[in-house]
């Protein structure tokens, strides 16, 4: 097992990626009391790429994503987003950020449309709000059900609404935890297509998933986290080659198991 816990963060990543830095994570540590969830991870995410964080349950992926989403405080280390210190300027960063938690919910007493309008009002005003909501309606694609209360939605419908909420704002950074959780194959494919399209418009995506097929399909680069440390990194193609594996699931098993 190769442990790359503390590393140099250079302007040009070790994978030869040369895009504009959106996220720079340096030696990030997070402790909950005596428990160290993150033990010093470092990585750089570039503009317009899908950067994957994978690893077994309890590895520290969600903790890392929650820190990047400005929800948790940093124990030590540094995170810079769009050139700004995340710990110092969380409110600035929230303006260009969208976070989709794994088990997120929506306000049950609102209709799907009301929920999208509620979120859009935080980002824009007047006609721009209408445009944003319209974009959300298209992504959610819930038909007439968009005007019924969220409490009547199936798990898949709720997830579509939440994905729409996360992407309709055209965030510069989308943090997506288990993007297609609860979606059937057809819906999952459609959502992946929408996310990929968003990256072409400049959105950077940090993606965490247990679905290795999804990771392979979506991610430009990945880091594999285990026990709070980054234990492997690279493009899916490079990692498959390095471990002589036919897919990322095999790589995962060889690195972590």
């Amino acid at each position: 097992m190769t442990v790359i816990g503390v590393e140099k963060v250079s302007s040009e990543d070790d994978d030869g990626f040369t895009g504009k830095h959106v996220i720079v994570v340096e030696n990030l540590c997070k402790s909950y009391g005596d428990f160290q969830a993150l033990k010093g991870i470092s990585f750089v995410a570039h503009e317009g790429e899908v950067f994957g964080l994978i690893g077994p349950n309890g590895a520290g992926k969600t903790t890392a994503l929650r820190i990047l989403a400005t929800l948790l405080q940093i124990t030590s280390g540094k995170v810079t987003a769009f050139g700004k210190d995340l710990g110092q300027h969380p409110e600035e960063i929230r303006k260009v950020l969208s976070y989709l938690p794994e088990d997120a919910g929506a306000y049950k007493n609102l209709t799907g449309r009301d929920y999208l309008e509620f979120v859009a009002d935080f980002f824009t005003k007047d006609h721009e709000t209408k445009e944003m909501v319209q974009r959300g309606l298209e992504i959610a694609d819930l038909g007439d059900r968009i005007d019924t209360k969220v409490e009547t939605y199936s798990k898949g419908m709720t997830r579509r609404l939440l994905v729409a909420r996360a992407l309709m704002t055209r965030p510069r950074l989308a943090i997506l935890d288990e993007l297609t959780s609860g979606l059937d194959v057809v819906n999952a494919q459609e959502i992946r297509r929408i996310v990929k399209q968003a990256t072409k418009d400049g959105t950077t995506v940090l993606l965490s998933s247990h679905n290795m097929l999804e990771v392979e399909l979506m991610c430009d680069r990945i880091v594999l986290i285990d026990n709070g440390l980054i234990v492997e990194r690279g493009t899916p193609a490079d990692l498959k080659k390095k471990y002589a594996a036919s897919n990322i699931e095999e790589v995962f098993m060889k690195v972590v198991a």
């Binding site: 816990g5 503390v6 590393e7 140099k8 030696n27 540590c29 402790s31 909950y32 009391g33 160290q36 033990k39 010093g40 929650r66 989403a69 400005t70 929800l71 948790l72 405080q73 940093i74 124990t75 030590s76 280390g77 409110e91 929230r94 303006k95 950020l97 969208s98 976070y99 938690p101 088990d103 997120a104 919910g105 929506a106 306000y107 049950k108 979120v119 935080f122 980002f123 939440l162 909420r165």
Partner: protein, 434 residues
Amino acid sequence: MSGFTNIVKKELRELLTRSTIIPVVLMAVMFGLLGNAFSGIEDEITAPPKLGIVNMDSGVLSEIAVSQIGNLSEVQYNGTDVNMALDKIEQNGGTAVLVIPANFTQRVMDGSSGSVEIYWIMKGAGLTDSVSSTSVETVLSTASASISAYLIEHNTSANASIVLSPTSHTDTTIFRSKEMIGISPTEISSMLSSQSTIVPIIIMMIVMMAGSTIISSMGMEKENKTLETLLTLPVRRSSIIAGKLAAAAIVGLLMAGVYMIGFGYYMQSLSAHQNIDLAAYGLTLGVIDYLLVGLSLFASLLAALALCMVIGTFATSYKSAQALIMPITILTIIPMFILMMKDFNTLPTTGKVLIYAIPFSHPMMAFRSLMFDDYVLVISGIVYSTAFAAVMIAVASWIFKTDRLLTGRIGKKAKTRNGLLSFISSLIAKRRRA
């Protein structure tokens, strides 16, 4: 382990959580404090009243009356100077000064009623504050019975009705430097009973309604997994807190308004036959007074909501939120009951501290205090409640900026052992790279 034992263990683990135990412990502590406050009232009921006697009459009947009063009460003054008697009784925390006029014996012997003037020193307008005046009336009726017995024994020529009821009394009540002629403390308490009962109940309802709304809102955010999304939206934490406080205040006031209408009709039907004019005794509120009552209510509601917001951060679900409402309920019920029964000024010191410290008490006291021009208590209460609210809002804002809301822990910066370790490891890494 049998299936039964296994189930019992699991259920106990689920039911006996911090959020269920803490409210029960708080309730036990608060009931203990409540018991202490009420034990004072019980002592007051059983103790003989402290009285002053001003006897201007030298006849036999007044001697009988004075002797009987002395047997049944604690006489603090026995002389002929009314003002001196009043000063002494007021200083010693007594109840009343009984003035027996010069012609008392002669009047009764002549077949008229012997009138005793009672100067009541009223300490409070709560329902139990008139307990001591009842005991004085008992003392007087016993004295009257002794005079009756004397008149019968000595076969006086007075008419039968005077023999059976030889004394009468006129009342003057002194309460917070107001002298009210022709009215007793019991009557004043009865007149103020609507303020004593309705106002605390309404305040309790407003606080409970609004408080439970905000605690439940926090529980629902966590249960429905909407909190994380909300906290990543471009909105200041203070705006989230202020928005939740404002919405809860509106809901609380609306709900309390509906209750007030119903309860108002109920109380009106009970007091419809009283027809006592408070204004006749100078007991009215002006525009500024009403403004102060409104301010007191607003400050108190804000304090309650901010406290509930802090408590709400402990809620992990709607169910746990319901349990967390318990301390707020207790904190509103305690001042409600105490202030219905007792006036703030007649409470023991511990009771005063307890009532003053609970910010919801102040609007409960405001009406009565302003009626008797006690502006210091009302204004200081507004200042205290506002300061309490400010502190609670600051605490809530701080909690919203920490990990507490999501993880149940407060995040620590890198001054810990872990931080030191990672600092050392980064130094080693730098040296390697160099």
